[in-house]
Symmetry: C2
Subunit: 242 residues, 2 copies
DNA sequence: GGCCGCGCGATTGTCAACGATCAGCAGCAC
DNA sequence: GTGCTGCTGATCGTTGACAATCGCGCGGCC
């Protein structure tokens, strides 16, 4: 009983894992803006570790698409273009649609009830602060996360929540999220859950695809998502190489 | 102009990148069977590098889903279960379907012609050796690769050809690929290209989904894909944890 | 005056050694 | 005989230092 569960305690995490999460959070939150250089020594000093674990974390972040590395030239935070947004949301629409289709067939009654309770909670939160965005990372779990879990496909869930959500948040982190968007999104979610209730996978998939595509169009409409100032090219030098 | 292109010469590759590819190839080819332990020192000695670059390569492989790492316990080649096969092929069917839909709308005439030429070449190769499998990694480029490229979505292409194809080959590497499968697959491919020619994205998507799902069912039918002997559980100890 | 080559600084890639942690086993108490 | 405890061997995680490479500014040359 004196054994501390290594899977639960953050102590069991190795330094590289912790640095990975910290840098990921810094990138997604905008603290490390797109295109900014990630010097190894500087980052290592900032997080109080050596360059070894940091390099491993950087490799992992590269695999997740959050940083781009060029040999002997260092790592930078990825700079996403309009084409990237279109591609990411196209893929995400399909994948989340698949999650809906699977969830309609596999979700348990308890999971459906949990989804509905989640919607109720979101509505209450949205009513409380109408000017605020749709609740995210405010302690209240995300709708898309719960839905991915209900698909009962661990790989799909990991792909959606672990790999792609960071990229999506990279786009959303500076959007002001006017209230109209939150209400429309909430309505979409409600309709999707209803389709899930009726076990109509095809319809749920269609609704989810349209929901994601709507979000894409909304994001594409605002320019401030991409460039902080007016720099269209990520950084001078290698741009169209790969 | 005297500059040797660093992106083309293999010299520009760092050790970690090279080790990554080598270990990936060893895993996919079955040289490192599923569940086998990947001791750092042994691998480092085998490839003639230190443990530093090797650890980076292992991290990258973990991110790609080819190895599983547990802190302080080492890395092992991933052992894919029947559930994994179902999940992977379900996702792949959707993604390749998406690639078809995009390719139907975006592929240039030259790309379509190249796809048809590829099919001709495949047919000739299949006719030459009817007992052989569908031509793969024999110098002749893969059909699915060309199609992913034709989708004009770099991220989708990377996801399909770079991330998921290794997993698929992990399943296929020991299947004997009887001739019937090759012929049916070739016929599927021909029909898909025809739909692409007619710019019928919906139909091409449907065909591709069924094509992948058929491959899935065929793989599920043969037991030798999963366990080399009769060990159903990957390795004793932690099994259902994650 | 403009362009080319070149050395220097900074940064990355790599290595070998140190401390930390876990699995397995011998030994002892019950 | 059985269960626990402490050790030991091996392996992983981490560190600091060394070598290789690239970008950049200076000087020389056309």
């Amino acid at each position: 009983m004196t054994v501390t569960r290594p899977a639960d305690t953050p102590q069991a995490q190795t330094h590289a894992d912790r640095i990975f999460e910290l840098v990921e959070r810094a990138i997604v939150s905008g603290e490390l803006p797109p295109g900014s250089r990630l010097g190894e020594e500087a980052l290592a000093a900032r997080f109080g570790v050596s360059r070894g674990p940091l390099r491993e974390a950087l490799r992992q972040l590269e695999g997740r698409g959050l940083v781009v590395r060029t040999a002997h030239a260092g790592a930078r935070v990825v700079t996403l273009t309009r084409a990237d947004l279109a591609e990411i949301y196209e893929i995400r629409a399909n994948l989340e649609g698949l999650a809906c289709r699977l969830a309609a067939a596999r979700a348990s009654e308890a999971e459906l009830a949990a989804l509905e309770a989640l919607l109720d909670e979101h509505m209450r939160a949205a009513v409380l602060r109408a000017d605020e965005a749709y609740p995210q990372e405010r302690g209240v779990p995300d709708f898309h996360f719960a839905l991915a879990a209900a698909s009962k496909s661990r790989r799909l869930e990991r792909l959606l929540c672990h790999d792609y959500y960071s990229l999506v948040r990279l786009f959303r982190h500076r959007t002001s999220h006017r209230a109209g968007h939150a209400l429309r999104a909430f309505d979409d979610h409600r309709r999707i859950v209803q389709a899930l209730r009726e076990r109509d996978g095809e319809f749920a998939e269609l609704l989810m695809r349209r929901h994601v595509q709507t979000a894409r169009r909304e994001l594409e409409a605002m320019d401030e998502v991409f460039a902080p100032g007016e720099t269209v090219v990520p950084w001078p030098g290698v741009a169209a190489g790969d």
